[in-house]
């Protein structure tokens, strides 16, 4: 169990998803990439992001960066929200879908296309919920 957005979080998250998720059953063989931008991180209000890429249901990349952009790769979707919202999602208090529908997480691009992704991403979210237990206060 590790702290959200830490290096350890990335490493353990990668391993967890590779070991525990079935690319076909759990991730519906999707190929996509997503940039999660996390704003207002305590204590100083910093912004960080994580880039996650799946290819035919297999995790290809999972990277954490500082700032609101990831220059190396262009993600198909960007989901932006504050730290508290990500925390609620990772603590299982709010689903990713409802966070999007409540506008707590803002999707760049077509909402229809993004919502199509929500079900396949369930497995990723559950994995991250399993490994994340520490947050900034």
């Amino acid at each position: 169990m590790v702290k959200f957005l830490s290096e350890e979080w990335i490493e353990i998250g990668k391993n967890y998803m590779l070991e525990q998720l079935d690319p076909v059953k759990d991730l519906r063989s999707i190929s996509t990439s997503l940039l999660g931008v996390v704003e207002h991180i305590p204590p100083d209000g910093a912004t960080m992001n994580f880039y996650l890429e799946l290819e035919e249901g297999k995790l290809k990349d999972f990277i954490v960066n500082t700032g609101s952009t990831f220059e190396e790769k262009e993600a198909a979707y960007e989901i932006r929200g504050n730290y508290g919202t990500y925390k609620s999602v990772l603590q299982g208090e709010m689903s990713l879908g409802i966070a999007v529908l409540k506008n707590r997480l803002k999707v760049k691009g077509s909402k229809m296309a993004a919502l199509k992704l929500i079900k396949p991403l369930d497995g990723v979210i559950v994995s991250l919920q399993e490994i994340t237990d520490e947050f900034e206060e």
């Binding site: 704003e39 207002h40 305590p42 209000g45 504050n82 730290y83 508290g84 919202t85 925390k87 208090e93 709010m94 689903s95 879908g97 409802i98 529908l101 409540k102 506008n103 707590r104 803002k106 077509s110 909402k111 229809m112 919502l115 199509k116 929500i118 079900k119």
Partner: protein, 654 residues
């Protein structure tokens, strides 16, 4: 062993007060002066919902359930009420409830508590920050105050982990949002709260409510200015439709009318103002000149800012659902319209929906009339009847004897009246409507009468009663008068209601259409959910099939149900339809059936196509109708149905 100087206080039982309070449906009619009786002085002074009759009714339930414990603030809340009785007059008119009894019981309960039982609630950093923005008086984390917002923005069973803040201007709203974001605290604006109150007992509660965080109560944004020269009004977010309409009428102008208690700004952003006047006055963004909004970053914007991206457009398609508003409208500059000296009401009665619909759309396409609607028998009965029982009997008489199932209600000038009369075999005029209002108790008592039995044997009972010799007999039998109608109210309120019903506006169908104080009677001691739609009128059978689908769904789930109204818009090309399911909000089984009927009807509407349900235009009222209604939605595919099912699971299954 007891001591003489130790007084053991007996806690007052709140049971009787709870029995009254739980019948309340949070209509909010106690928050503005719609009867000329004044308005709750404590609520007006302190603002927070807890100080209004509506809030006290909720607090009593929350204390009784143990969800909230007494706090020091509770003493202030009960002390602020001087039992003036204004709330009884207002609430009794719409719901026949007596909120003053609840307020009195709450006072007695608080008096019976030992001082040690009142908790003090410490200020934390978030509260301190909010108070720095709005002043100490206007922000609180008191759980008793928070609990009063249950069912109108807070879900029934959340932990009372909330702040309530009452900004007085747009700049303060902006600062609150920036502060909330910085501190990772969720927030949601609240105006009248009535839209959520209908959803709160259903599966929609979780998706539409605030689970924790800051309630931004917009009541204090009370700017209201009429600009007669430009036919506009500047309206703050705390202003109700009744208040705007009253001020506009003093300048011989009229606003597009939503329900009396609807707050103008929130109504605009929620669904747009859905009204029977929409065909003439417009829909969605037609109704305003400008909006001042605060977005979710706290940025203040105006629709008229020429540099900004197009604020009038939104993504089309059935997945474009929003469970929160795209921003907070703090002020709107709305359009007003002239009131003509020769305005009249004319109603055309029908026994079947097809003929009523056909006339309505014909009038809509020809732009006849100012307000145009098919109203169901149920609506007529609910609106005109002073009590629930009278409305049931009124409905029975209309259905079983008169075969009066629908009316096309038209508010128009005298030229248009001639057109309507030329298109109908017979009509109900203003004079007869006045008799039905003042004679509603007598009318409902005619069930099982010989008069009605004879009438029902006529070939066309509607013609016999509205255009034949029976009319004078009916008017005589009704014996319409303010004295007569006031007798159905509690004895101590009869003099007051006699005066109320003596006012010309109370029997003026034009005024009643514009000020819409009667629709709240649909919420008297029971709740309703109106899953309506805005539908293309090009295919009459298709339109009527939608109504039949809602009817079938109501039957399937054994709910009291009825068409509410149909009203054209955009020159008759579309028409709103509201179909209502009535339910006891205190009965978990009925709430469950309401939830199932909502989901099922929602899914069916997408498969049927050519219409948008309320969920599809929820929080899209600030956009142009051309972007919301077009392209006319086609029936969705099987693959899209699967996606919609997943979406619904997302909304409901969190």
């Amino acid at each position: 062993m007891s001591s003489d100087n130790v007084i053991v206080k007996q806690k007052v039982d709140l049971k009787d007060a709870v029995a009254i309070a739980e019948k309340g449906t949070h209509c909010g009619m106690c928050r503005f002066d719609f009867l000329g009786s004044g308005v709750c002085p404590a609520g007006r002074k302190h603002g927070f919902l807890a100080y209004w009759p509506q809030g006290r009714m909720e607090i009593v339930q929350q204390l009784d359930s143990g969800r909230v414990k007494p706090t020091e603030k509770l003493k202030d809340i009960v002390d602020s009420c001087n039992l003036c009785g204004i709330c009884d007059k207002q609430c009794n008119f719409t719901t026949q409830l007596r909120p003053e009894k609840v307020a009195k019981a709450l006072k007695e309960y608080v008096d019976s508590l030992d001082p040690s039982e009142f908790q003090s609630v410490p200020e934390d950093n978030i509260l301190q920050g909010l108070r720095e923005i709005v002043g100490e008086e206007w922000a609180t984390n008191d759980p008793v105050i928070s609990s009063s917002y249950t069912m109108t923005i807070l879900p029934p069973n959340s932990e009372l982990n909330y702040y309530v803040v009452m900004p007085e201007n747009t700049e303060q709203v902006s600062k609150i949002i920036k502060f909330a974001n910085k501190n990772n605290v969720p927030y949601l604006p609240r105006s009248g709260g009535t839209a959520f109150s209908a959803a709160a007992p259903t599966v929609l509660a979780k998706g539409l409510s605030l689970e924790q965080g800051i309630v931004i109560d917009l009541y204090r944004l009370r700017n209201l200015e009429i600009h007669p020269e430009s036919y506009t009004a500047t309206v703050g977010a705390g202003i109700t439709m009744f208040e705007l309409q009253k001020e506009a009428l003093s300048h011989k102008l009229r606003a597009l009318a939503a329900e009396a208690g609807a707050h103008v700004c929130s109504n605009i952003i929620t669904t747009g103002i859905i009204s029977t006047w929409g065909n003439k006055y417009g829909a969605f963004a037609d109704n305003f000149i400008d909006l001042t909004t605060v977005d979710d970053e706290g940025n203040i914007k105006k629709h008229s800012d020429w540099e900004r991206n197009n604020p009038y457009a939104t993504e089309p398609g059935f997945t474009n659902l929003n469970l929160t508003p795209p921003g907070i409208v703090t002020e709107a500059v709305v359009k007003l319209h002239p009131v003509f000296d020769d305005e009249e009401a004319v109603l055309v009665p029908f026994d079947n929906i097809r003929d009523a619909y056909r006339l309505l759309i014909k009038l809509g396409k020809r732009d006849v009339g100012l307000s145009l609607a098919v109203l169901s028998r149920k609506y007529l009965a609910e609106f005109l009847s002073p009590t629930l029982q009278i409305s049931k009997d009124f409905d029975y008489v209309c259905k079983n004897y008169l075969k009066l199932n629908y009316v096309v209600a038209v508010i128009c000038n005298k030229d248009d009246k001639k057109i309507v009369e030329g298109m109908a075999d017979y009509t109900i005029d203003q004079s007869l409507m006045k008799s039905l209002i003042l004679g509603a108790p007598r009318f409902s008592s005619l069930r099982d009468s010989e008069f009605m039995k004879i009438l029902s044997e006529e070939e066309d009972p509607l013609k016999a009663i509205f255009a034949g010799p029976m009319r004078s007999h009916l008017e005589k039998a009704l014996d319409p008068s303010p004295e007569q109608v006031s007798k159905v109210f509690d004895e101590d309120l009869q003099d007051f209601f006699k005066k109320v019903y003596s006012k010309p506006e109370m029997t003026d169908i034009v005024w009643l259409h514009a000020f819409r104080i009667l629709p709240t009677r649909m919420m008297r001691q029971q709740m309703f959910m109106g899953p309506g739609a805005s539908m293309w009128t090009g295919d009459e059978d298709h339109y009527l099939n939608w109504i039949q689908m809602f009817d079938d769904t109501g039957e399937k789930y054994n709910l009291e149900h009825s068409l509410g109204f149909i009203s054209p818009l955009d020159h008759g090309k579309f028409a709103y339809m509201e179909y209502d399911y009535y339910y006891n909000h205190n009965d978990p089984d009925e709430c469950d059936r309401i939830s199932k009927s909502l989901i099922e009807s929602m899914k069916k509407t997408l498969v049927m196509g050519k219409g948008l349900t309320i969920l599809n235009y929820l929080y899209k009222g600030i956009y142009r109708k051309e972007h919301v209604l077009y392209p006319i939605p086609e029936a969705i595919s099987e693959e899209e149905q699967e996606l919609f099912d997943e979406l619904i699971d997302t909304v409901l299954g969190d």
